[in-house]
Symmetry: C2
Subunit: 163 residues, 2 copies
DNA sequence: CTCTAAATGAGACGTAGTCTCTGGTCAAGG
DNA sequence: CCTTGACCAGAGACTACGTCTCATTTAGAG
């Protein structure tokens, strides 16, 4: 059973209808290799309304089929999700995104819980850095080839940093 | 020397001019007790243009005088900052925000760095839960008094959760 | 006091997302 | 077959948050 059929099955289980528009959005999502924006989807799925794409993405978000990544410029991108809880490691140079879940946020959360008496429900962690290949490129003087992948897409606005 | 004079001194050191508009924005920021939005500032500082408030906030952000908090509904709020690196613990019920910095994200970052070969530059962590008083309120049946503080302000749009 | 670069305010613009409204599709029931 | 009602689509208005532009003002150095 292919990815798309599995997803369609889950949509049906939730009582959602499988319409041609939703199928087109799903196709577009699955065709994306890195992260993407709703705008990217709109360019590939002609004839599907903006609102419909947003509505479909909301459903996929609820079902943990996609997740959202906060890029270092503050822009929110979508990304196919593993479904399990995880975090993102974002390359600030080329925009590549790595998942990680084998981290130790839980002990941190436990400490915080006992220190503050809060009943902790969720957390959001994004880590930013330079991937290995971007480090190598940077060390070659006058290399003009860096930063060509996703970076171009959407860069305006926003600022990261909560200090 | 008062808070505002200290900040003004830092602005001058950076070569920024101290205009009456900036002073009005500063006053408004310092008058805020919890977290706030640019819109909140606009209501208190009449006669200062929107763009100017945004520009001033950007400077204050650069100087670490304020920081940004991602609320659980996805809205970005501003907050007076301690200046040092820290994270936020947000009550999802009343919107109260607690700072914490005594956490151990660093070991996590170190592990991640050696596992992925990324050169890690920054991270963003927000934790969500229920503060003690909201837990108490919730345990009183039919209590109608909960959730009155900041919650009302801006709630439209956005979704949290990277999962 | 004069001069100029920096800053301002108004408003156009951009982007991400929601809401509203009208109309379509489809399954169940009569 | 027809009706009804729930769900869904698409268009486009609208909102929130922020940036850009441009003509005008002003801080502050000389």
């Amino acid at each position: 059973m292919s990815d798309i059929d599995l997803i369609i099955e889950r949509l049906e289980l939730r009582g959602h209808r499988i319409t041609s528009s939703r199928r087109r959005v799903l196709d577009a999502v699955l065709a994306q290799q890195a992260h993407f924006t709703v705008d990217d989807l709109l360019h590939t799925t002609r004839k599907v309304g903006r609102a419909t794409v947003f509505r479909t993405m909301k459903i996929l978000l609820d079902l943990n089929i996609v997740c959202r990544v906060m890029m270092d410029d503050g822009a929110l991108h979508y990304r196919l999700s593993t479904g399990r809880h995880h975090h993102h490691l974002v390359c600030t140079n080329c925009g590549r995104v790595e998942d990680f879940s084998n981290c130790d946020v839980n002990s941190l959360v436990r400490d915080l819980q006992s220190a503050t008496q809060y009943e902790i429900e969720a957390h959001w962690l994004e880590v930013y850095g330079r991937c290995q290949s971007c480090q190598l490129l940077a060390s070659v003087p006058e290399s003009k080839s860096a930063a060509t992948s996703k970076r171009a897409t959407s860069a305006r606005g926003g600022r990261r940093g909560n200090n």
